[in-house]
Symmetry: C2
Subunit: 523 residues, 2 copies
């Protein structure tokens, strides 16, 4: 999994030696070495965190599902992911999920912070989470919501609703919380039999309110070599603590790359939150140019020429280098990959994947969102105009009937076309190529860049010392010669080691990467 | 146009007399009469301002177009209306538009306000709008936009872009601006030959930046009796001055009714701006319960069962009385009414109404947004499943080909069905009924309510005075009797007049309204 670890240790020692040499020279001691330290940390770190950032309705979770070709994070349109999610590598038979809860102290702080603007009086910190106080506060919240006319009728009502969920979450999960630490539990400890059950528990408002983090450990080649995908609540999340989490994570030196999931494909321009996000990314030296721009919901531009022109214009003028710009539809890509496994026997997923969402009221079947989008793709996207697919969507059939008939007629090759048009595969290959071929060489190149000026300065200093010694009276000749030889050799050794190391490292990684790519893509 | 004006004058005199009586009584002089004055002003005002408020992309302008069945305000998705628009009544042959510009002083203030956070130094207020300073500032803005990587790449770039537009607008329109007043110009003075030309001038960013207000005078029955529709920039407008205009207008005592154009039909829930809007409306005593809630873009719920359930739930729990809740698609309603006038000769509008938007790049025709939505309606909305319309949308034809073929086959009756499903007619009849039948009686009822407590207090005081006089020694008997008779008669007269007036008023308006309704709807 991490073949380069022994070399990493060597590299770390060598850079430390260089920094030590620097520390021994009074004239150089003042030099700022934080950039080098950051680069070194990134280059030798076994982990590489890729943060998915964007608006709460930009479809980040669906994009991650599409990338990994499985439904990992629950993502329903309009329902924000409230909790930070980490997705790390696991061997196929060791998949698991771990839930990390807020500490009682953190919950207490949040309760206090919500009570104050609501004018709910709490006498003493330490008694907030006693059951009488909780009941009193719940009553107060319900009163506020009633008076405002509903839980989302005003900002005040929304705050009261958030407090209500937090208190309910505390009551429901009290036995799992620790006074000051973030208690963690495995899926098994909480009696969930699979990932879906755990996700469904975690997305319930009251549970989500007291969960700090979800950690999924999944088998997927993309996650090898320490890659971690991080899904955050949206940058425009309605709850303040969630929105702040984004800012913190973007500023975190642990963050190594960012996938910006942007909405202009549906909104026509970038929102204030989105421009602020781009500003913040630029300020984190740990990220550098490791930013992927994904314009998700690209399907909306198929049906709206104005949107399409506006997006093209935005990309041309403001994302000029264009090298890491992708246009995707996470929804079409993800469900496309899922329905490949279905057939007419389960009505291409209506009776399996979508069984829950077709359950309508009053006996009539509902249309899953994907089915609507699929039919619209077939009828109106212009993607099929010049293909072999001669598809008709009939207004006198229900959307589900159209869907089953069309897939019955055109089957897998139409699904392949849909997936290709979703742009997901292009994005997946690009990010895979980056993570397997480019990532480590680039991290070492960054370190080498940062080290260069340090080495030049050291060389200059030693040269000056040499000249000074050379100009001193002859009697100390022997001593001088010895000292000089020592310094010279030390410097040369480190330089040679370092150069050789970088070479080996880069070669080995490229070789590994190509081998692993071959394995992954079966070529 | 205003048949009740003479009575209004009488009413005003009578209420003034009552207030005068009140002023003569030392014990009552302190009573707060602002509510009565506001109610009186509303009841006798020749104008009734209906403000359309909502997010900038909620489709307010399109809804107004649909209401009036004509393209008045330019509304392109994603392009915000930047300027306040007033739409008032005109006789059919007297339609016109008037453009009101910012004063030079107002522009200067805005320039100052934008320069400061951008760090652009301006030495003295009075010299800002000199051409060298303007050039210097324009250069500064361009530099900032270049450095940020594009005009919408960051908040700083957006501010610089706003300043650039304002300066350009000042230069382009300099000869039309007044130092301290808001200069106004008619369409003819500006050499526009029709409303569309004027609207197209006004929506250009630089012109929009220096325009304070657009006043349209149009013939439409809805606008009779002093009704004025006011379209504002969105509550979430990107430029601060535009967002503030919304707040000011909602708090303005001149505002008599509000049409809240809300987005949950597409967004799933109410945004912070929307809940704040509802809060603000409640605080304006001039609006009372004269609020219409319009969930626009309802068509999005046809294609997404989750959105539909969420909206139904929102309406059931938080708009419980439900009496003034409407679900509309302004786009389908408006263009539906427009294409009724077209035929296969102009390809149902593709060669007339949509001639501009089908002009694609590279020889291929673009699809107008309405055509995409129309086809989706036909294929996927389930609205046609149980009708006589047997429509197919074919993936091997272009959207425009499908559109022309379907309308050729099913023609006007399908358009009627589309318009009915758009919910626009229902909303139009409701608002027309309100404005012609309910508005004035309700305004008078409000006044009567507010006057009631005043009359009761006056009566009490006079009764006390009577008792005091009655208990005084007999020698002044004659004088007392005379004084009492006078007071009594005065009070009775005013009471009788007032009651009679309200009756006549209400009767007359109801009769007029019914007659006008008959005329409007041809029954």
């Amino acid at each position: 999994m991490l073949p380069s670890q022994p070399q990493c240790a060597l590299l770390s020692t060598q850079v430390s030696q260089l920094l030590e040499l620097l520390g021994q020279e009074p004239s150089l001691r003042q030099q700022d070495t934080t950039a080098i330290e950051t680069s070194l940390k990134k280059a030798i770190s076994p982990k590489f965190e890729i943060v998915f950032a964007g608006a709460f309705s930009a479809g980040k979770s669906m994009l991650i599902n599409a990338l990994l070709e499985r439904e990992l994070l629950y993502s329903a349109e309009g329902h924000a992911t409230g909790t930070e999610c980490h997705i790390e590598y696991a061997e196929p038979n060791q998949e698991r999920v771990i839930l990390a809860y807020l500490s009682e102290r953190e919950i207490q702080e949040q309760v206090m912070a919500l009570c104050q603007p609501l004018g709910l009086n709490v006498l003493e910190n330490s008694h907030i989470l006693q059951s009488e106080t909780i009941e009193m506060l719940q009553k107060g919240c319900r009163g506020i919501i009633e008076a405002e006319g509903g839980p989302s009728k005003s900002e005040r009502a929304k705050q009261a609703q958030a407090l209500l969920l937090l208190l309910q979450g505390y009551k429901d999960n009290q036995n799992r919380l620790h006074p000051v630490n973030n208690a963690t539990f495995s899926m098994e400890q909480l009696n969930f039999s699979n990932l879906i059950e755990a996700a469904s528990y975690a997305r319930r408002g009251s549970n989500s309110a007291v969960l700090k983090r979800l950690e999924y450990y999944c088998y997927h080649p993309l996650l090898q070599d320490g890659n971690i995908l991080v899904d955050l609540p949206g940058i425009d999340a309605p709850v303040k603590r969630d929105a702040e989490l984004n800012v913190r994570k973007i500023q975190d030196p642990e963050t190594s790359a960012v996938v910006c999931v942007l909405k202009p494909a549906s909104a026509g321009d970038m929102s204030q939150e989105e421009t602020e996000l781009l500003d913040r990314i630029r300020l984190n030296p740990g990220i550098r140019d490791r930013v992927f721009y994904v314009f998700n919901r690209i399907d909306e531009t198929w049906y709206n020429a104005q949107l399409r022109q506006r997006l093209d214009n935005l990309i041309q003028t403001q994302f000029r280098d264009g090298s890491r710009v992708y246009k995707t539809s996470g929804l079409l890509g993800f469900y496309g990959s899922q329905i490949k496994k279905t057939s007419s026997r389960d009505r291409f997923g209506l009776d399996s994947i979508f069984a829950e969402s077709v359950k309508g009221l009053g006996g009539e079947e509902d249309t899953p969102q994907f089915v609507s989008e699929f039919n619209n793709y077939c009828a109106n996207s212009r993607k099929l105009t010049r293909t072999q697919f001669k598809v008709s969507v009939n207004g006198y059939e229900t959307p589900n009937e159209n869907y089953v008939r069309i897939l019955g007629d055109w089957g897998e090759s139409l699904i392949e076309q849909l997936i290709a048009d979703s742009g997901i595969e292009e994005f997946r290959s690009a990010i895979t190529r980056y993570l397997t071929e480019e990532k480590r060489p680039q991290l070492f190149a960054n370190l080498a860049d940062d080290l260069q000026s340090l080495c030049i300065n050291l060389q200059k200093t030693f040269l000056t010392q040499y000249r000074e010694l050379a100009s001193q009276p002859r009697e100390v000749e022997a001593m001088k010669a010895q000292e000089l030889a020592r310094l010279n050799q030390e410097l040369q050794e480190i330089g040679a080691h370092f150069r050789q190391h970088i070479e080996t490292e880069v070669n080995e990684i490229v070789t590994n990467a190509i081998a692993s790519l071959r394995k992954t893509f079966g070529s």
